[in-house]
Amino acid sequence: MAKTVVLERKPLSLSERTYLPQIATGLKTTFSNMFKPKVTLQYPEEKPVIPQNYRGIPTLVKDPNGREKCVSCQLCEFVCPPKAIRITPGEVPEEDLDREHVEKAPQEFEINMLRCIYCGYCQEVCPEEAIFLQQEYSSSGYSREELINKKDKLYELGGVLPDKHYKWDKKKKAELEGNSH
Amino acid sequence: MNFVDLLFLGFATLALGGGILMIFSRHPVSAALFMIISMVSVAGLFVLLEAFFLAILQVLVYAGAVMVLFLFIIMLLDVGPEGAKSSRLKLVSGFAGVACFSILIVLSLLLVFDSSPISQASTLWPALDQNSLVNGENLVFSTRVKSFGFGLFTKYMLPIQVAGFLLLAAMVGVIILSKKVIREEKV
């Protein structure tokens, strides 16, 4: 058991009881603070450093060949806790030679930024690595409609991510070799 | 009618109007505020008489300190607007009002028309000159602060001390009344 030591508090001296020396010390501290370097970040001109794993606005990305990655499996719509994502699935037309092995692509993809909580579940759950929470954090608009990000806006925000394994190329290769599934 | 007369009429109207409205307003806070208006207007009248010191004391002591206390207590006790009183209380207050007003009228008439000692109050001051010397010279009574001080500490020394003693007695009384009585519990 820890031993409790009761410290005798020294009685305050006369100068301490007036509090004036302490006030003077305080004033000295605040005054010297006036000349220290400032920590303010002048926001629109200076931007904060965003760490690599930052969860910003969710975006849709394309693969290095500029092809739409999303296959509208709607897993993200299902997992989204605030139900911010709405996907209208559509079919990929047969004549699209680039993606002839892909059956579906989103006809419309909406993320409501008024509902989004930036949890990153959509990125985690996406089997096609098509949705990413990137470093963009500033989203504003004058109306509610403006803050619902449509498909083209999402692709514009997302851009192209370097992809390590060309999944569709592999799929195509497999299909050509005859063992598609 | 010149400018000063206009000012006098203005302040006098405010002083009287404030006083009357103070009596007739139902809410205590309004009454207190009308009283402040009345007091500040009286201070204005003093200024017109070039008695700046008196005017300032009027504002400092009455409007600034006493009325703040009044207001403070009205607010602390949360006194609401006065409702209808019983007829007996009405009768008493009406009688008191009439009595006070008639005394006021009589006194004013005495001051204006009679040469009784009250009306000669203004001649009290020259009496001060005869036996008060400052540096070998008579201190002529003026509106300056110094002549007030000199009068208070020479001719009116006794009344001041008596008044001070009265206030001291009142203060001691308040302290005794407001002191908590601590009873020792007997086992």
Partner: protein, 376 residues
């Protein structure tokens, strides 16, 4: 000058006085506006921030070097703040007592502006070697006038608290009136030794005049050095009377939301705000006059400026410098000390400052009597 004044009709004198008064109001209100800016800027600097530096006027802001510099200082911020107060929506809560609710800000501002009438801020040298103090009204009981009128300022706060008809403003108003009554006493008592010290035996001129107090410090000790205890008590009481931290009982955001002006918004709140800062400006000016030698140069030194209009301007400038220094001190204290608890404020006022002021008064009564006796 005096003959010139006597030759005028009364309405002409009135017109001149009104023009002077408007100029003075303009000066004090500008200083009040810029002390708000100073408050924000100094607090920012003390907390490692930059403070307001965004507001800019179209033409002046585009001047190459000066524009950005002024913008960085936030010089245009008070204009923006004032306009904001003017154009905000006027909200009157349904439960307030309308008449007093509207009256309160006015009552708060008027005494703050009235005290400046007897405030001397410099001297004018006539050709004949005379000096005329620069002030609106040369009252021989100036300091009492200031004490009296500033004591009326409390009604604004009390009425605001009462008419708002809600808990926090009411508590703020009650606290404020108690605080004002308590500290007025110490303030008045701390000034008495000053008058005793300044009025010499045999001098006819009343030493209650602020001009006399300033001139007694010319080529002599500042009264701050002669009577440091009085200066300390007066300064503490001044903080309490202007409701500044560490004594901002009526406002105390942390326990009373906004205190007496919780229910006020837009321009009515703006008036309270300006009144508070006008009090600070005038309080600083009074402290400068009484304890820091007013427009005279350093203690024991004669004024280094010539006795003509240049001297007048330099003297007024020096006076303003001291006043601004004190305003800075007010702000500095605010961002250094925490707020007192209400009972601590009352305790300090009644059991510490009042006895100290009385002891100080007694000491100087004995000292002045002894000096007078030994001089005879």
């Amino acid at each position: 000058m005096i003959e010139f004044m006597q030759s005028l009709e009364i309405w002409q004198i009135l017109a001149i006085k009104i023009v002077f008064a408007l100029m003075m109001i303009g000066a004090v209100m500008t200083m009040a506006g810029y002390s708000v800016l100073a408050e924000r800027k100094v607090s920012a600097l003390m907390q490692g921030r930059l403070g307001p530096n965004r507001t800019v006027l179209p033409i002046i802001g585009s001047v190459p070097i000066i524009g950005p510099f002024l913008q960085g200082l936030g010089i245009f911020q008070p204009l923006a703040d004032g306009l904001k107060f003017l154009f905000k929506e006027e909200i009157v809560p349904g439960h307030v007592n309308k008449i007093y609710y509207y009256l309160a800000p006015i009552i708060a501002l008027v005494p703050a502006l009235t005290t400046m009438t007897v405030l001397p801020f410099g001297e004018f040298f006539t050709g004949a070697g005379e000096t005329i103090p620069l002030m609106l009204a040369d009252l021989d009981v100036g300091i009492l006038f200031i004490l009296a009128v500033s004591s009326l300022g409390v009604y604004g706060i009390v009425l605001a608290g009462w008419s708002s008809n809600s808990k926090y403003p009411f508590l703020g108003g009650i606290r404020s009136s108690a605080q004002m009554i308590s500290y007025e006493l110490a303030m008045g008592l701390s000034l008495l030794p000053i008058f005793l010290w300044v009025s010499k035996p045999g001098v006819e001129v009343s030493a209650l005049s602020l001009v006399e107090i300033v001139n007694s410090q010319h080529q002599a000790n500042w009264l701050l050095l002669v009577q440091p205890v009085s200066a300390l008590i007066f300064l503490i009481a001044l903080f309490a009377e202007t409701n500044r931290l560490p004594f901002d009982m009526p406002e105390s955001e942390t326990d009373l939301v906004g205190g007496f002006h919780t229910e006020y918004g837009s321009f009515k709140f703006g008036i309270f705000f300006v009144a508070e800062y006008a009090h600070i400006v005038i309080g600083s000016a009074i402290f400068t006059i009484i304890f820091l030698g007013g427009w005279h140069f350093l203690p024991w030194m004669s004024d280094p400026w010539p006795a003509n209009w240049v001297g007048t301007i330099l003297g007024v400038g020096w006076f303003l410098t001291k006043t601004v220094g004190l305003i800075f001190f007010f702000i500095w204290i605010r961002w250094t000390l925490p707020r007192f608890r209400y009972d601590q404020v009352m305790d300090l006022g009644w059991t510490k400052l009042l006895p100290l002021a009385l002891a100080n008064l007694l000491f100087y009564i004995v000292l002045v009597t002894w000096l007078d006796q030994s001089a005879l």
